[in-house]
Symmetry: C2
Subunit: 219 residues, 2 copies
DNA sequence: GTGTATATCTCGGGG
DNA sequence: CCCCGAGGTATACAC
């Protein structure tokens, strides 16, 4: 990784055009070739960047970074304040816990926590426009499509609506009702779901993990 | 800005829990207090981060970064390879051109470029589930809802469908037809729009800018 | 502050 | 390769 602190101007010409007036900034060049220009503030997002793969050419007073799509970043360097290079090696990567996939697993193992009498038919049930998170049957044998989100917003309701639209074309399933499940559901998403006769359930991740470990203890 | 290159492990506990095994990484601390941990590859997104506002405490061998929501980042530093601090000042910020907002402005000023005889009623016309980009009336006085995108994809058609659904409940507007406008529309989005009796128009941003400057020249 | 839409989104997975 | 979905999305903007 190379870390250059310099007074510079930057121009990006690609999916949009953008310009940075002269100021002191950090120019970060990573081992994979990607370039990012950071100001001394404003969260983690750089002001300008160019992802790998690309071609970086260092001219006398400016750099050009070009990618295969024809996007170009031009960095005009007016004054170098610091220039540091360091070998870092390959990173072992981030280990995550608590994302949607895990929530889906827990719900698949405990469909009763979505609705009484629910039994799982299958996870990632395929439709023509993508897989439904969970397909279940209720106590009366009716099909239930479940969309799982960590945070329930309007687009999740849209997604489930699309799936229901397709599932209800299948005579072996019809009629299919929908349930929207999340750790937190925004009021507008509840309104839209109710408006479309879609049920919604708020679940607690830690409580589900508790159920899971209790059940494990029984065996 | 402080740039620390160190062998470290990192633990995040907040919206999820995540762990980074020991490796050499860049730890960036910006003037506004935000912290980002970068590997030597993988685009501009850091492996872990904590946005401002937060509280950074440097202990002997580890740092803790805590934000008001109770999320915490723990950086255990095993070996410091480099430690650089540099004053950069406030950045003048990025100047952009060609984003959706500009396209919407240009179309609002030239509704005729969407359809003959269209007149603008208002931009960001409010509905219960969010604002419609443009509400217009056509030559016959019929209401027209316009959704503007830079790149037209399926979710834009969904969005417009939602708005039309709500707008058509308003007796002073009904019937409202929809037009989907973008610089580029994906085939699937065209199919879905047509299927729902929604019109679609591909516009050229530079041409619109031309119309705009021509009109300005007339005055 | 809440809620909604945008983003040069980034990133990963599947066909 | 593109398409689609998730994200600790972040960020801007209207109400």
């Amino acid at each position: 990784m190379r870390l250059l602190i310099a007074r510079c101007t930057v121009d990006y010409d690609g999916r949009l055009t953008a310009h940075l007036p002269s100021a002191v900034r950090l120019i970060m060049v990573k081992a994979d070739g990607c370039v990012a220009i950071h100001a001394d503030g404003g969260a983690y997002k750089p002001l300008n960047w160019m992802n790998a793969p690309n071609r970086l050419i260092e001219h006398d007073d400016h750099w050009t970074v070009t990618n295969p799509k024809g996007e170009q970043l031009t960095i005009t360097i007016e004054e170098v304040l610091s220039d540091l290079s360091e070998e870092m090696g390959v990173d072992p990567g981030l280990q995550k816990d608590g994302v949607e996939a895990h929530l889906q697993e827990l719900l698949a193992a405990n469909p009763e926590s979505i609705g009484e009498g629910l039994r799982l038919v299958r996870r990632e049930y395929p439709t023509d426009i993508g897989p439904v998170d969970l397909l279940c049957r209720d106590a009366d044998g009716g099909a239930v499509a479940v969309e799982v989100k960590r945070r329930g917003e309007i687009d999740g309701v849209e997604q489930l609506t699309r799936y229901l639209d397709f599932l209800n074309r299948d005579p072996t399933l019809r009629p299919v009702r929908g349930v929207f499940v999340a750790q937190e559901i925004k009021p507008q998403a509840k309104v839209l779901a109710t408006d479309r006769d879609i049920g919604w359930v708020v679940v607690d991740y830690n409580e589900l993990r508790g159920i899971e470990s209790n059940e494990l203890r029984l065996f």
